[in-house]
Subunit: 414 residues, 2 copies
C-alpha cells in the first residue's frame, strides 16, 4: 500500500500538465511604480505562470486576474508530488473554458499578495526585514498597473481578453478603465464596480480579528514562532460564510453533528456541528497558505475600489474601451448580488458597448465562479471565439461614433 | 448649561415610568431544576420586572421572552439618572403594543444571562468563584422551565400570552410545546423552530473569537483586569451585521467615510468607513454590558434549539396547545427569513390551530422587531384583545376534536 507522500500525480489529458512558476522583476528604480496613494515604489517582483502557446501574431493572450486569496498557479501541477492542481484547473486547459489549445493564458500573483509577487511579507531592503505594515498602501489600480507591465514584458501589446471573478473581476473592470485600448474583451464574473457596505463590514470584522490577535505584533510577526493565526483563521471563517449560499450550507451541513448522533452538552466542544467543524478546518488550512498582512492589504484594496468615484461614474470609467464585455452573476451570490452586475451592464449599455450579461443559476453562492465550470464554459468559450474571429478578420464593433475606430479614440486618452 | 450627568429623566406619559428590578430565588435544593443535559441545578436567582396591574382574575398576564442580549428591563426607567429606558420601551406601556393599562406584563432575564439571573458569571458556592465554564450547559427548554416557575411564583397559573422575538421567539415556541395548557396565546416574532446552518456558522465565528482571546482564560477571567473584550466585541460585530439588512446598511452608511472626504491610504486606520466605525462602536459598547460566558452559553442554547428534533416534528411539538398563535416575519430578515416562519405556520395549520401570520414589510432586517413598533402594535393589540375577550367570555377555539375542550386534552399530557 502506498502512503500519501508516495503518491505521484499523472495529470489528466485535459490538464496543462506540469507547469513552473516564473518570476520577473519590474519597476526597478528609477522606474518605480506610481501608486494611487501618491507614493513611488519599486522594484516589484511578479510571480506568474503561462499556459498554451502565444501565437505568431501575439493575438491570443488572455490574462487571468485571481480573487482575494488566489495565486499565479491557476492550472496544472507543480510536480508529481503536488497535492493539488492550480485553483482554476477545471476551467483552464486543453478543450476547457479557457482553451489552452487556442489561447495563451497568463496568471500572476497580484501585488500585495504572498505567493511570489512583492507584498508585505517581502523583504524591505531598507531594513532587511519584511515590510509588514510598512508596505505601501495598494489599490486595485496599482495591482492592475503591475499586471499590465508584466503583459508588456511578455511582449504582448494587446490582450485578447482579461478575465476574473470577485476581487479578480474588480481588477478586470479596472483594466478596462485604466487601459481601455489594451484588450479585445473583458470578462467579469461575480463581481462589482464597488464593494457593498455589507461587504466592507465583513472585511472589517476579518481585519479586526487579525489586528486584535496578540501575535500580530503590529504586522512584524515574521520572526516570531507563530503569527496571528487565530485572527487570520477567524477572518477566513467569517469570509467563508459569505462565499456560500444559505441554501448550500443548509444542504451540505444542515444541523448534522460531527462524528456523533446526539448532543454532547459540552461547552468545550467548539465543533459539535458539521458546519462548525468545516469552518474551523477552513480557517486552519487557510493560515498554512496565506499571509495575514496580505489579507489586510488586499481586503482594503477591495474596500477602496470604486469605479464610479474614480472616474465620475461607472459609465465614464468604461467609456473609452472598445472591448466586448461578458458579465455574469450567480443567482445565490449574496456578497456580489446580481444588482451589482446590473449596474455595470447598465453603464455599458449607456455607452453603447457590446455586452453579454447572464445571471447564472447556481446553488453555490459567491463561490459559484470557482465551482460551476460547464455553464461558464458554455458562455466563455463561444464568446472568446467570436472575439478572436473579430480580431483576426479585422471586424470591429460599431460604437456608433461616426465611423471613427474606437482604437483611434482611445489612443487620445494615453 | 447642563452637562450629561446632571440631566434627569422625566418619563413620557406613555411610559410605565420608574420601575425596579426584582429578584426571587427558585429551585432551592432539594428542588433543583432538572436540566435537559440530564444534570440537576439550583438554586436559581431570577431577575424580573413587571408592568401594569394583575387583574383580580389573574387573567391578563403576558410574559416577554427577551432575545440573545436582552434583559429583564423591557420598559420604563430605573432612575431619573438612567441614560436609557428598557429595551422595548416603545412597545410596552400605557396605550402601546403591550398596553400596560390592560395587561400585566412580566419580563425576566433568562437563565444563563448576566443581568441578575443565575448564569456563568454567578458565584459558584462550591468554589467561591464565578462558575465560568463550570456552569451547567443550558438549553432553551431549561430557560423556559425557569420562566414558568417564576410565573407560578407570581401566582399566575395561566398566562394570557407569551411573546418574544428571535431567541425570545424560540423560547415562546418552547413554552407552547413544553407548557401547552399554560397560555391563551403565543406570539412569535422574527424567529424559527430551529436556527439555520448559516446561523450556527455565524454563532461559531463569534464563539471562536471569544475562545481565542488570550484574556478568556478558559472562562475564568472575572478576577483579571480585562476579560476577553476583543473576542466579545468581535462576536458582536459579526452578529450585528446579521441583524441588519444589506439595504439598510447601504442606506445608512453606504461607502461614506468617517469624518473625512478623501481616502487616507493608511493601513493603521481600522475605521475609515462609517460602517466600520459603527461596528467597532457597537462592539465596544456591547463589552461594557455583556458577559462573554453568557454569550457562549446562550448562543449554544440557540444552536441546540430544534422543536422538530425534540418532539418528532414541529407539528407534534405544537399539537397539544390550544393557544392562539401570532407569527410575524420581516421581509428583509435574512437571519430568520420568512421561510422559517412558514414552517411553524404550516405545522400549526396541520394541527388545525388558530394562527395569524404576517410577513411585515420592513427595511431593517432581523432587528425589525426591535424597531418597527407601529406595524407590530397594529397586529398585537387587536390580537390580544380578541384573546382576552375569548378568555373572559369563555369562548374557545374549535380544534375540531369532537367537542373535547383542548384544555382537557392537554391535561393528559402533564
Amino acid at each position: 500500500m502506498s502512503t500519501d507522500h508516495e503518491e505521484t500525480i499523472i495529470p489528466a489529458e485535459d490538464s496543462v500538465g506540469f507547469v513552473e512558476r516564473q518570476s520577473v522583476t519590474l519597476f526597478e528604480p528609477p522606474h518605480e511604480l506610481h501608486f494611487a496613494s501618491g507614493r513611488r515604489f519599486g522594484p516589484i517582483s511578479v510571480a506568474y505562470e503561462t499556459y498554451g502557446e502565444l501565437s505568431e501574431a501575439r493575438d491570443n493572450a488572455i490574462f487571468i486576474c485571481h480573487a482575494l486569496t488566489g495565486d499565479a498557479h491557476a492550472a496544472g501541477w507543480h510536480s508529481p508530488a503536488s497535492r493539488k492542481p492550480g485553483w482554476w484547473e477545471e476551467f483552464v486547459g486543453p478543450g476547457k473554458g479557457l482553451d489552452t489549445n487556442k489561447y495563451f493564458v497568463i496568471c500572476a500573483n497580484c501585488l500585495g499578495g504572498c505567493q511570489g509577487t512583492t507584498g508585505p511579507s517581502s523583504l524591505n531592503p531598507a531594513t532587511g526585514k519584511p515590510f509588514g505594515l510598512e508596505f505601501e498602501f495598494i489599490t486595485i489600480s496599482d495591482i492592475v498597473k503591475v499586471q499590465s507591465a508584466l503583459v508588456k514584458f511578455l511582449g504582448i501589446e494587446h490582450l485578447l481578453g482579461v478575465i476574473g471573478g470577485s476581487l479578480g473581476g474588480m481588477q478586470v473592470l479596472d483594466w478596462a478603465a485604466q487601459f481601455p485600448d489594451q484588450m479585445d474583451s473583458v470578462m467579469v464574473l461575480a463581481s462589482a464596480a464597488n464593494l457593498s457596505a455589507q461587504g466592507i463590514a465583513f472585511n472589517a470584522v476579518g481585519r479586526r480579528a487579525i489586528y486584535a490577535d496578540p501575535n500580530f505584533h503590529n504586522g512584524q510577526y515574521y520572526d516570531s514562532e507563530e503569527g496571528p493565526r487565530y485572527g487570520l483563521s477567524l477572518a477566513r471563517m467569517v469570509a467563508h460564510i459569505t462565499y456560500l449560499s444559505e441554501d448550500s450550507i443548509e444542504e451540505k451541513f444542515g444541523r448534522r453533528l460531527q462524528d456523533k448522533d446526539a448532543f454532547e452538552f459540552n461547552m468545550m466542544n467548539e465543533t459539535e456541528f458539521q458546519i462548525e467543524s468545516y469552518l474551523h478546518y477552513q480557517g486552519k488550512r487557510f493560515v498554512q497558505r496565506f499571509d495575514a498582512n496580505s489579507y489586510l492589504y488586499l481586503t482594503r484594496a477591495m474596500d477602496y475600489f470604486n469605479l464610479a468615484d474614480s472616474y465620475g461614474s461607472i459609465a465614464d470609467a468604461l467609456k473609452q474601451t472598445s472591448a466586448r464585455f461578458l458579465v455574469t452573476s450567480y443567482t445565490t451570490d449574496w456578497l456580489f448580488p446580481t444588482i451589482q452586475s446590473n449596474r455595470v451592464v447598465s453603464a455599458l449599455l449607456q455607452n453603447g458597448k457590446h455586452v453579454v450579461f447572464t445571471e447564472l443559476e447556481s446553488p453555490f453562492g459567491h463561490d459559484s465562479f470557482l465551482l460551476e465550470f460547464e455553464t461558464l464554459k458554455d458562455l466563455v468559450s463561444p464568446f472568446l471565439e467570436n472575439v478572436l474571429n473579430a480580431r483576426r478578420t479585422g471586424a470591429r464593433i460599431d460604437q456608433g461614433r461616426e465611423g471613427k475606430l474606437p482604437s483611434e479614440e482611445n489612443a487620445n486618452r494615453h
